[in-house]
Amino acid sequence: MSSAVQLFFDAASLGGIYAMAALGIALIFGVMNLVNFAHGEYIAFCVFALIVPSTEAVAVMFLGKAPAILLIPILLAIGGAAAVASEYVVFRHMRKATPVAMMISSFALGFIIQNALLAVYGGRPKAISLWPDLNTPIALAGAQLPLLQLIVILTTLVVVCALALLLKKTRLGLEMRAAAENFTMARLLGVRANVVITGAFALSGALAAAVALIMATQTGVADVRMGGQIMLVAFIATVIGGLGSLPGAVAAGFLIGAASILLQGFLPLEVRPFRDAFLYTLVIICLLARPQGLFVPSSAKPRI
């Protein structure tokens, strides 16, 4: 019984991270049909923003020293600013490009950010300790849970609800939803393309920062390669959820988290190192079964 509770919390907290990362990608795709491969690097960038730039193996906290009440808004702003800057420098000049060209340039941008981090911080993963107290286990329903897992799950819920409210209740949200459906028509009604796109990038970057905070606390490691791993999973969640569908991205993020934890728990010991291979095979099967996404009605017209 207690191990079932444990599995549930593991799946929900991992899925929460994936869901938030996938949301960041789906937001941008919805508004401008851009598959933003640089998103994972926004996350890595935010993690490294916590520590003092150096190639030493042990990280010295920089922003990470600030009290949470300051740190959280500052890091969210940094993530948002990084994403907005990348739009301003790269994607703004590609408004008329094909989705494929934009996708490849985002891949290049991600590569640039990753190598910039590598040049400044070195390639070795660094141990960091952000809010270590959150990893102390607490007992709940017979399972030992790190407080952080609960916080991750709650944070995900709060973020998803806040985003839903923002999209539903604010002027920017209305314009973003209209633009996601028909950008030209929205512009003909006076909706400013730059405002909507900048807004989407700012939100997406802030989501990346939230993921960065959680991952930094949970793993205690800053690794230049962390962006690539989470980006791949988040992408897959976005595609499985139905590209551009925000609820789909969240649902698929949780689904992949759950599948990943279940495979980890129930695969025979000798094939367990190959867990990700099983996971990605499942993904391809999912795509084949429902190319338009798991959580999109099959009548919906494909977006691409």
Binding site: V35, M94, A101, A108, I236, Y280, I284, L288
Partner: protein, 352 residues
């Protein structure tokens, strides 16, 4: 007198000759300098030609961006290692190989061909599933495929050596061997592009709906191009292994995916010449940057680029090309005999 159509067709077949001549000239010039480092650079460049031309056979004709080709490369590279390494080494480092493979000691050329064939077979199997998808979903699925290959090869301790490198590969690939394979890849790519299947596939790239309405079986043509593409990509992996002598799963992951796509995009996805020009252009840039990273003295001052500058600059070049010249340096045009030296071709596009 030849009809205009026949003339165009003949011109289309002159493209590979022009490209191969350029590459041969490049290899020859480098050999003449007698510089060992330059020769190694030339071999690496020509191996990249095999890789990028292989990639182009699929991406250029189908219009689907593949992030999975580094996977076929890894498959080819390890296959050649299994077939050519000394049995004693294999029993030591790769103890779980099946007995026939552990005893195998093939000559290098059949091993390279077998590596290509294995990659082509995996391309057939993976493509049979992935190519049922279209557009961005297909691209993401190729990414998933790459992750699968990387996970398997990074963890299959007794067969691939997992993350510890496989060493001791015969380093037989010099610029001439690589040139031979590059020529073969270019010829095959040109033959395929001008075949009925290649032409039909490019029609689907322009307009999926219209092409399928006209009865083109997109899936079959895509699969065929992926299999041919997989073969040469696999061979390029084998060549790379036998050029540097060491294999590691992570040398066939995101880094090489990025570089090969960058070369294809910078040169121009639309034409075979674009693929070759992209490799030559970016390889030249990489070589310059690598030298700058080691430090170059110009007069009294010495210039040293920080490490990582190479990748960053290539990324910047790629983005600039995408912004300023979205269809690449060659913009879908091909180098052909009578026009070379004048403008690089105005109207007779063979692949567009």
């Amino acid at each position: 007198m030849m009809g205009k159509h026949a003339q165009n067709k003949a011109l289309a077949y002159s493209t590979p000759l022009v490209l191969i001549a350029i590459l041969a000239l490049f290899a020859g010039l480098v050999t003449l300098t007698g510089d060992k480092a330059l020769a190694r650079m030339a071999a690496e460049t020509l191996i990249r030609v095999v890789l990028v031309v292989g990639l182009w056979i699929f991406v250029g004709n189908s219009g689907i961006v593949s992030f999975g080709h580094a996977g076929y490369m890894a498959i080819g590279a390890y296959c050649s290692a299994w077939l050519t390494l000394k049995p004693q080494m294999k029993s030591l480092f790769l103890p779980d190989l099946p007995p026939w493979l552990a005893q195998a000691e093939w000559p290098v050329l059949p091993a390279a061909i077998a590596s290509g064939l294995l990659a082509a077979l995996i391309a057939l199997i993976s493509g049979a599933a992935i190519l049922r998808l279209s557009g961005i979903a297909a691209s993401i699925a190729t990414f998933a495929f790459l992750a699968i290959v990387n996970t398997v090869y990074s963890n299959w301790e007794g067969v691939t050596g997992a993350t510890s490198s496989v060493v001791g590969l015969a380093r037989y690939v010099d610029q001439w061997v690589a040139l031979g394979w590059a020529a073969a890849a270019i010829l095959a790519a040109n033959l395929y592009a001008n075949s009925a299947s290649g032409l039909a596939l490019r029609a689907t790239r322009e307009d999926e709906v219209a092409a399928s309405a006209s009865g083109i079986n997109m899936y079959r043509h895509r699969l065929l191009s992926l299999v041919i593409s997989g073969f040469f990509t696999g061979v390029s992996g084998a060549l790379l292994g036998h050029s540097i002598g060491v294999l590691n799963p992570d040398s066939f992951y995101l880094g090489i995916t990025f570089i090969s796509l960058a070369m294809l995009v910078v040169g121009g996805i639309g034409s075979l010449s674009g693929a070759v020009v992209g490799v030559l252009g970016l390889s030249l840039l990489i070589e310059t940057l690598v030298r700058l990273e080691h430090g170059v003295s110009i007069g009294a001052t010495s210039v040293t680029l920080p490490s990582g500058a190479q990748e960053i600059l290539i990324g910047i070049v790629m983005i600039l090309v995408l912004i300023l010249r979205p269809s690449g340096l060659m913009a879908g045009k091909d180098l052909q005999l009578p026009r070379l030296g004048k403008t690089l071709q105005q109207k007779q596009t063979t692949t567009n």
